[in-house]
Amino acid sequence: MPVKPSPILRDPAALSDGDLWVRLRERDMTSLEALYARYASYVYALALRILGRSEEAEEVVQDVFWQLWKTETAYEPARASFRTWLFAITRNRCLDRLRRHRGRSDSEMPPRASGLGSAPSDPEQEAILAERQKHVVAALQALPEPQRRFLEMGFFNGLTHREIAERLGEPLGTVKSRIKMGMDKLKDSLRSFEES
């Protein structure tokens, strides 16, 4: 009977996110190194985009990967891809910091989106990540400007729909409908990418 090589004997860089997570729980530092090499730039980029301060973005990278190492937050492969889960943690960390800066407590804020996706990660996902990034950027840019701006203000700036309406002097109903329309268009666009 052919023997399937154990993931433990393979180079970490060649392992899937899920396998690396399993090894991480066993305190394998090479797995943390592999995940860092794979995702640190994305985590940093997201933190920098949300917080706008390189020093704070660097702290978020440290926090997020330290949290991974301590496995304080359980990743459930059945619920989401590792990448999706990692980005959700990163965004939540950043929004916590933004809220502290604004002097508001979490209890006053709306619930954080978990940002969970449906498909578990595998090595192929890593290969198409860069391609997917291009597609996401293109899909976002293709949105009508107000829809894109409202989505970005909610996602990257952590603003509520009322705050967006106040800042831009738009009726609340307009903000709500444009967020929904923007989300629907993004959904369609990303779906067509997955099907292509």
């Binding site: 530092m29 940093y44 390189s54 440290q62 990448r83 990034q133 729909h161 709500k176």
Partner: protein, 256 residues
């Protein structure tokens, strides 16, 4: 999925809820509705969350400094028991098994060392290539921002104790980027940092903190400038380390 009549409003709220941006009366109303067990809205939230997860990829890619990685792994080594599967061997086999394994091990070690050499070389080349690609991508982005038709250049002049300092800021409103290059600025006092502000319509918005090299040079690249039209002022103040939400310290550079 067919949408029940009168349900459109809840689907609108579901999208905003997934974004984490629903508050006030709308939030109460939607959560009350969700508590009634609406499967359509639960599916809509899940659907929207999938879309939103990918929005993280829309942030312009940027690599953290090497020092971040070094600090992280230093902490890991210092504070945690570490295993390294690459270096692990099994334990507990009998002497006979160990003897039998010895010959195989010798051959495997030879092959392993050779494979590892190849792997290390390939890995090094991959890391160098990726670093170069990142640098090239960053330079291309910077050049594109500088030459974009909407990009504005603002000259900043030194103020107060920093009369000899100067800076240039490039604002790319389309991509919401700002590049700041500082010259001849003395290091901030201990426990203080320089903080950059964009002042639009009289309201200062923090663009981040930065330090300077011993020769007085400093640089900041930020990707979150607010939308603006008309006149804009760029200023640098001295603030407590870590920065502050609103400027409190003396202004050392300013330009419009």
């Amino acid at each position: 999925m067919a949408v029940k009549e009168g349900h459109e409003e809840y689907l609108e709220l579901a999208a905003i809820y997934a974004l984490g941006a629903l508050d006030g009366e709308d939030r109460v109303k939607f959560e009350t509705h969700l508590a009634s067990g609406c499967e359509i809205c639960r599916d809509a939230i899940f659907d929207s969350e999938n879309v939103l997860a990918d929005l993280a990829l829309a942030a312009p890619l940027a690599a953290p400094p090497d020092s971040v990685r070094e600090r992280l792994f230093e902490r890991v080594r210092r504070e945690s028991p570490v295993r390294n599967f690459r270096k692990e061997t099994s334990s507990g086999p009998s002497r006979v098994l160990m003897a039998l394994a010895a010959a195989a091990t010798l051959a495997a070690v030879g092959l392993g060392l050779y494979a590892r050499t190849l792997h290390t070389r390939a890995e090094t080349e991959r890391v160098v290539r990726e670093a170069l690609e990142r640098d090239l991508g960053s330079l291309t982005e910077t050049l594109a921002a500088f030459t974009a038709p909407a990009t504005r250049a603002v000259s900043l002049s030194g103020q107060g104790d920093a009369q000899g300092a100067a800076a240039k800021a490039f604002l790319d409103p389309e991509n919401r980027r700002l590049f700041l290059y500082v010259y001849n600025l003395p290091p901030p006092p201990p426990g203080r940092t320089y903080q950059l502000w964009l002042i639009v319509g009289g309201a200062p918005v923090s663009m981040g903190t930065f330090g300077v090299e011993p020769d007085g040079r400093g640089r900041l690249d930020t990707t979150s400038i607010p939308p603006f039209e008309g006149e804009v002022t760029v200023a640098v103040t001295v603030e407590p380390s870590g920065g502050v939400p609103q400027p409190t310290g003396p202004m050392v550079l300013v330009g419009s």
